[in-house]
């Protein structure tokens, strides 16, 4: 979660005390909710239990989030922000090849999700439910996906700027989304020590994928 915001002038200003305290409460709610999602399960966790764990009144939770699905979505938004920042803010990646940038992006996501693995499995199932707020078809989830894929498209364009208006350029980020879900599933079911299989899978598949993309575009 960002602790500093950029004003229109471009100067960095520290948020006021009131905003800081609001942010601290929000963080407490999210942390409590995730711990419960992970230990008790997503479906059985109630907002009441979240409030109790966070040490606040249930009503206060509703000041911040309408439902527990909203809390989960907030967490996924943070995950995407974290991963994008990890790639964008790393000076060592500036001249790195596309496969390395994509590796860093996906790995940062997995690293962020790692403490809540059990919950991620449950959330993936929820994502398939069209009626769920958490579902892939909800407006907020769609927005998040677009933001994520816009960044992927940006990375791809950076790697071969001459091909920016390629007829298939819209297709690649979409394909990447399916690939990402595949990686997530692989990671969830990976029982190897330190998830070494996922690392190898990620590395090899990105190498093959990017080389396929670049050969196909040449």
């Amino acid at each position: 979660m960002a602790t500093k915001t950029k004003a229109k002038t471009g100067k960095v200003r520290t948020p006021g005390k009131r905003a800081q305290s609001k942010q601290a409460i929000r963080d407490r709610i999210v942390k409590a909710a995730l711990t419960l999602f992970q230990t008790k399960g997503f479906d059985t966790t109630t907002t009441k239990a979240i409030a109790r764990r966070a040490g606040i009144a249930e009503g206060t939770v509703f000041n911040y989030f309408r439902t527990k699905e909203d809390i989960a979505l907030f967490f996924f938004e943070e995950e995407v922000d974290h991963a994008i920042a990890a790639v964008r803010d790393d000076p060592r990646l500036r001249k790195a090849p596309l496969e390395e940038k994509l590796f860093k992006l996906v790995h940062s996501q997995l690293e962020f999700l790692a403490p809540y693995e059990r919950f991620i499995g449950a959330a993936l199932l929820h994502a398939l439910n069209p009626a769920s707020h958490l579902g892939a078809f909800s407006h907020r989830a769609q927005q998040l996906r677009h933001r994520y894929l816009a960044f992927v498209a940006e990375l791809i364009e950076d790697s071969s700027p001459r091909r920016k208006n390629d007829a298939f350029s819209w297709l690649v980020p979409e394909a990447f989304w399916i690939y990402y879900l595949g990686v997530l599933l692989f990671w969830l079911y990976d029982t190897s020590k330190d998830k070494q299989h996922t690392l190898a899978f990620l590395d090899r598949s990105l190498n093959v994928g990017v080389s396929f993309l670049q050969t196909g575009r040449r």
Binding site: L93, E100, H107, A200, D203
Partner: protein
Amino acid sequence: MTNTPTRRAFKVASIGANIAGSYLGYVLQSAFAGKTTREQKLKTTHARVARKVRDEMLLMRGPAMKLGQTLSLQTGILPEETLAELATLQMQAPGMHPSLVRVQVKTSLGKEPEELFETFSPKPFAAASLGQVHDATIHEGKRVAVKIQYPGIHDTIKSDFKWFRTITKPAQASGHIPKEAIDEMEKQISAETDYKREADNIEFFRKGLAPLSFVEVPGVFREYSSDKVLTMTFVRGRHLEQFLASRPSQKLRNQVGTNLFELFFFQLLKLGAFHADPHWGNYLFNDDCTIGLVDFGCSKRLLPASLEYLRGAYLYPGSRHSPEFRRLLETNYDNQGKKPSRAAIRALIDFAEEYRKVYPPEKGKQFVFDFSDKSFLTNYIRHATNLFRTKHVMTDYIFMARAEMGLYNTLHALKARVPTSEIVRKYL
């Protein structure tokens, strides 16, 4: 690499199928052919398959290459030169970009390499079996070599072997590829994935080889090492190709060759354990005739009985066709609970005769063997191949054969003249 198990499996399968299948095909056809036709058919089959197998193995460069190399020796489908070439090749893992390197180090040691080391070069300076080596410095600017393992390699090896066992079932049943040989290879190759074990090996050899002043073995920094990361002192020297490119004098090549030869026999006969990966990247040569030895992932400790036999056989004074020598051979098999076939005894006697040319027992200091003689290398490999094909090779010697073949190939490249008998006698 787990993403391509099918592709890898097909490759391993194709090597296995080429080796086992071609042989099986030959056995089937030969049942209906006369002796001359049989020999002709065997030659044609081998020539056709040899090129393909060699190319496949060179392409894979992974654990399957090592597996294929050892098995080719057993089935004799590759020409002698290619076998020697394969013995000194390195198994290689795919390269890792800096981000993957950082993840591997962090997962293993809790910190990214840039935090852990004073300086760390994100680009590797050498490929190592199963990983890559990076240049770094630790406290007070001490230069170190950091070996980092490619993720999931242990399971890749397991999966390669699983497929290999399946595909070679017919050859195992016929005894052409003994199950114990595959077990031995899997044990040795899998052991290479454990860098903690390699650190133990390095410490063993560093201590054991201390009496040889011309050998440099790296030191291990345990606090910067784990099962997937190995930090060692930097060993100076040039690889064989670079060393030879500097056109060293015959005198220098002789001395380096002599040291290399002594290093092998000291390990074998004094330590009873040896560095079993004779890949050229593992030896570093210097103009002062010192040799740096690196990468101790594949090292082999011989059984006391195997060692006992070697001590008796290397400079055996009498005729190798004598009943006494035959008894020496039989005792060795007996000690390991095996019974050799007559063909195996014959092949061993022929092999020992070949050795006699290199290590004449009656000759002393004045005898020098010239390894520039190519016929020796091809003869040695031909005899080794004949022996392997009798299906009665003791598994304990599989990795020794690889190391010895690598040694001879290196000495041949050096065109070194070495006082062989004198050195062997020193350590008997």
